[in-house]
Symmetry: C2
Subunit: 158 residues, 2 copies
């Protein structure tokens, strides 16, 4: 029995090590085929245009869609904020380069310290994580104000 527990313990350590080496929130490879929740355009008149300006498209995986219906997002929910530059010409604003992909993943156990949500940012078209600890805290601090909607700002547009 002791040998068995030791073996289980070793497996657990191995798994935890592998987990620690992986990014906490992986790049959401398939998000462009997920459902489009809504969009918001942040223009040059906005105080945070430099850091947040452009066309934000929000996408949700199937579990997150269930979350929008009941206001509580189940574990496995993933939300994406896909931020694109905007090019304006003669009244037509078109999508430009991708600025970043911001991601929220719900895992109540793994992200217990931050309301059950893990946060990450991927710059441009890159798939390696770019958010430092300070940035994650900033995400959590702002999102946690949405107490009545499980820390999620967006609503699903019909």
């Amino acid at each position: 029995m002791k040998a068995l527990l030791t073996t289980i313990g070793l497996f657990a350590v191995t798994w935890m090590s592998a987990g620690a080496a992986d990014p906490a929130v992986p790049y959401p490879a398939e998000y462009r085929k997920w459902v489009h929740v809504k969009s918001t355009l942040i223009g040059p008149q906005h105080a945070r245009f430099a850091s947040n300006g452009g066309l934000h498209h929000f996408y949700a995986n199937d579990k997150a869609l269930d979350g929008y219906k009941i206001g509580k997002f189940p574990d496995g929910s993933v939300l994406v904020d896909d931020l694109l530059e905007i090019k304006e010409s003669e009244g037509v604003s078109s999508e430009g380069a991708r600025r970043r992909v911001a991601v929220m993943v719900k895992d109540s156990a793994r992200f217990r310290e931050t309301g059950g949500w893990g946060f990450e940012v991927f710059k441009g078209d890159e798939s390696s994580p770019a958010l430092n600890a300070e940035g994650k805290t900033a995400c959590f601090t702002c999102h946690s104000k949405q107490k009545d909607h499980d820390s999620v700002y967006s609503q699903f547009r019909k």
Copy 2:
């Protein structure tokens, strides 16, 4: 045999009558769960703002997604242009009411006269067709200029 043919004939007439009574291009009931192709904002500076202004979200069903890959859309492809009003406040432009849902359906046999595409428009959140013959001709005339992309203007944004 004659009786059989008469029966078939009656069924055919019944089916054709039902078909003629239905809209040629049905309302795409599930399009909000289809893949989001791209978006374009038509602003007040644009010459056609009154008729075409707002945020255009384009959606494609699975067959149409195949069409974007090869530049030729298979029968059964459906494309949607979901046009929303935009409300601007302090640099944030948010989605407002739906102006209309414009639809293209590919059926090479049924819409042979218009490049294999059927066109329809549904006003606001209504699901009854609103495009008259003149409007359909206008859709076809403009879209048919896209000879190298099977009459489709949009490209799938990665």
